[in-house]
Amino acid sequence: MTAAGEMTGGRSDAAAPAAIELRGISKAFGPVQANRNINLRVPKGTIHGIIGENGAGKSTLMSILYGFYRPDAGEILVNGQPIAITDSQTAIRAGIGMVFQHFKLVQNFTVLENVILGAEDGALLRPSLSKARGVLKQLAQEYQLNVDPDERIEELSVGHQQRVEILKALYRQADILILDEPTGVLTPAEADHLFRILEGLRDEGKTIILITHKLREIMDITDNVSVMRRGEMVASVKTAETDPEELAELMVGRKVLLNVEKAPATPTKPVLQVEGLRMIDDDGVERLRGIDLQIRAGEILGLAGVSGNGQTQLLEILGGYPPKGSKVEGTVTMNGAPLPLSGRGCDAASRRRAGMGHIPEDRQVEGLIMDFAAWENVAFGWQDAPEFNRGWLMDNAAIRSDAADKMERFDVRPRNPNLAARNFSGGNQQKIVVAREIERNPDLLLIGQPTRGVDIGAIEFIHKRIVELRDAGKAILLVSVELDEILSLSDRVAVMFDGRIMGERDPASTTTGELGLLMAGVTDTKNTPDDQGIPPEHAHVDGLPQEPR
């Protein structure tokens, strides 16, 4: 591995000016040194990955490049020319375009209106609009960036909204495109499509900087990769000359187990039994079309599938809160007792009393109250537990001490129970949720996307805890869109597609290719060899239904 800073590149790289070169960039926010002496060289016409854990300083660095922050020290060169990027307008003029993690689109404007917003040619809109229409058509042909220019943003799927962001940048003639965690909100199929667009752009000579914390994306698509850790650039290498294990170690600063070590499961009695579960939502769409599942004590059932195929609804129904206005049919029994699916007794509190734990898919919206302190969040969902109450009042002292203990055991950093949940990184937020739910020792634990937006070090830790709970003889339902996670954690894998369970496989003997076909709705996978046009390491399938709007 090369030393920090210098790009491993031949003479030819060094001769041509790099699209972007950063020299000694530093930036501090109060006492926090977000970036420290960053050197980076991004050659023209390449896809350059920047990888690092949450809070490593990636987003700060890119914000400096886009003019949101001024660096405390250092120099930025674009195409060999030193440039002071004072605001985003300067950045745009220098040919830098940015696609944010959270899109900056006007929801009730059309695609066309969003594209010209801020780049209108004059006071009248019509000339700009017709010009943009032409440009969009051309871009669509060149890069497969197909979006209906007259559709309103709120009518578009997330993947298409992202395309609009890219189109906005290209319309402003960006040569250098920065994408901040672009796949965080995408389905695997959408992510795949995005990568093909990016490759097309690169082949046309554009330079792309991809910020992510997903190793697989880096390995799949980038030419070079730089690793950040705690505000410093610790390495820059050619992607072909490295591997995920090495990158993970560089990111975290120690050896990381990417695969979970676990003994074979010893399942016993059935804990959860789901029969003929159907759900029709308030739009009259059948989201679940007859789900049958069984989970036994001491096993992890992995539920794979492209997001938006009913997993969320299944978790919500099992968790006691079916979506508003929905109609639910079927039977669900837990430990032999039927669970109510509507009306009285169908709420999350009753489920918890019945011995269920639930790590929800979205920790920021459901699992935590972001403005509550960490200690208050430790009681969240368990606020009526006897040990947290003393007569009329809540026993805040007991909750605080429980929180301190849990944070200690789960290594939540910083170890400050008084800090609001929103001030923790994604991984540490998730650790608070996981600690709260797992340490209740539930008979059944529902888990949705346990490691979404969580850094590698924390993923390893959370996976270990989940396996420990299984080994303690508990039943676990694991829903994840990360196929790797499903395969390495589960004892059985069921695949969900369009509200149905398409089939169940043994993770030891199945392949990502086979699961990919199931995820695409193909049931007959018995005679299908792996090389059916789906690269095994992808398992992303095209032609899937789009995310529901």
Partner: protein, 366 residues
């Protein structure tokens, strides 16, 4: 990381806002050819310079404490209850009905009964908007403000047609029985030999208001109900995940809010007027919004803000009485205080935050 220390957030920011509002008020007074210094002196003298002034200031403050607490409790459930005016008016009806129709021999007995009456009618008036919001999603701002008008019209009818004593031409109820009249603060002080605030409307309700501050604080930050109210206020999906019923908590929070607003009637109807008159609330319900806003939705803040607005009310009245500053200008001054402490809060807050960040960075650098 917090952007600035808590004391700066809670005390310094509103204080600077207040000074700014006063500075602009001074300019306005200068512009109409009066002396801001004299005006200030008149206000302070009139509101705080004598026990007489204090008697009025505390009376107004008591009203604002109840309506401020009402707005605050609903706000924690992320409900913007601007129906305090109507709920307080209905609370007045509750007091009147209790005192006129239940024979009560002593004020100490009448007080709890009247409190219950006020709270029940105030809460009932909040219940309908609450249930509409919880079950039907009708926006609480719209419904509560409409209910203010309904309350005013309903009270008009009740006073003119039902409660008006035979032979009276005044749209007001009969006087409450003498035995139920609350001791004024001056009576209370007199009983321990201190002469204080004679002929002022301040009465023992002030202590009930203080107690209400404490109880609301306990409710919001120390009870499970408060925890659930705050959780719902921050995130409804989160609350549902945690087994908290949004319908139940919405209704309960509004009932408590309406009950608090209704209890204001103990002060103005039972304590001061000693009968129910038309438009007894006199805008205190709306002042409660500003009080809660300025008080940062904390009972202690509400108490301080209510005292400030009590001062502005009483001082403003004095200003109109003793100077040639027109009555309308007092409303301008009060509006400026609301504008700066409530609406323009971020104007002061953001530069302050930047200042504190810079100070902190310097500390670290050294």
């Amino acid at each position: 990381m917090d952007k600035m220390p808590k004391w700066a957030d809670v005390i310094l920011t509103p204080l600077i806002s207040l000074v700014l509002a006063m500075a602009i008020s001074a300019l306005v007074i200068l512009a109409i050819g009066e002396s801001p210094w004299e005006a200030m002196k008149t206000m302070v003298q009139g509101a705080l310079g004598s026990s007489y002034g204090w008697g009025f200031t505390l009376y107004y403050a008591t009203n604002f404490i109840f309506t401020g607490l009402a707005v605050m409790v609903a706000y924690h459930a992320s409900l913007f209850n601007i129906g305090g005016e109507g709920q307080a008016a209905m609370g007045g009806l509750g007091v009147a009905l209790a005192l006129l129709y239940i024979p009560l021999p002593h004020w100490a007995l009448a007080l709890p009964v009247a409190m219950v009456g006020a709270a029940i009618l105030g809460a009932a008036w909040a219940f309908i908007p609450a249930i509409l919001q919880a079950k039907r999603g009708s926006h609480i701002v719209i419904t509560t403000i409409m209910f203010n008008f309904i309350a005013a019209a309903a009270l008009n009818y009740v006073l003119v047609r039902l409660l008006r004593p035979v032979g009276s031409m005044d749209p007001a109820s009969a006087r409450f029985p003498e035995a139920t009249n609350l001791p004024s603060l001056s009576d209370a002080f007199a009983s321990i030999g201190i002469e204080w605030g004679r002929n002022t409307p301040a009465n023992v309700t002030f202590f009930i208001a203080l107690l209400a501050c404490l109880l609301v604080w306990l409710l919001i930050w120390r009870t499970r109900m408060g925890y659930e109210i705050r959780a719902l206020g921050k995130s409804e999906p989160g609350a549902v995940y945690a087994g908290i019923s949004p319908v139940r908590i919405t209704v309960i929070a509004m009932l408590i809010s309406g009950g608090l607003a209704g209890m204001m009637a103990i002060n103005n109807v039972m304590g001061e007027a000693e009968r129910l008159v038309l438009n007894a609330v006199e805008g205190a319900g709306f002042i409660g919004i500003a009080v809660a806003l300025m008080g940062r939705n904390h009972p202690f803040g509400v108490l301080l803000a209510a005292l400030l607005f009590g001062f502005l009310y009483q001082g403003g009245g004095e200003l109109a009485l003793w100077t040639s500053i027109p009555r309308e200008l007092i409303i301008v001054i009060q509006a400026l205080v609301i504008l700066f402490t409530g609406a323009l809060d971020n104007m002061v807050r953001m530069p302050l935050e930047r200042l504190f960040l810079r100070l902190r960075r310097k500390e670290v650098a050294e």
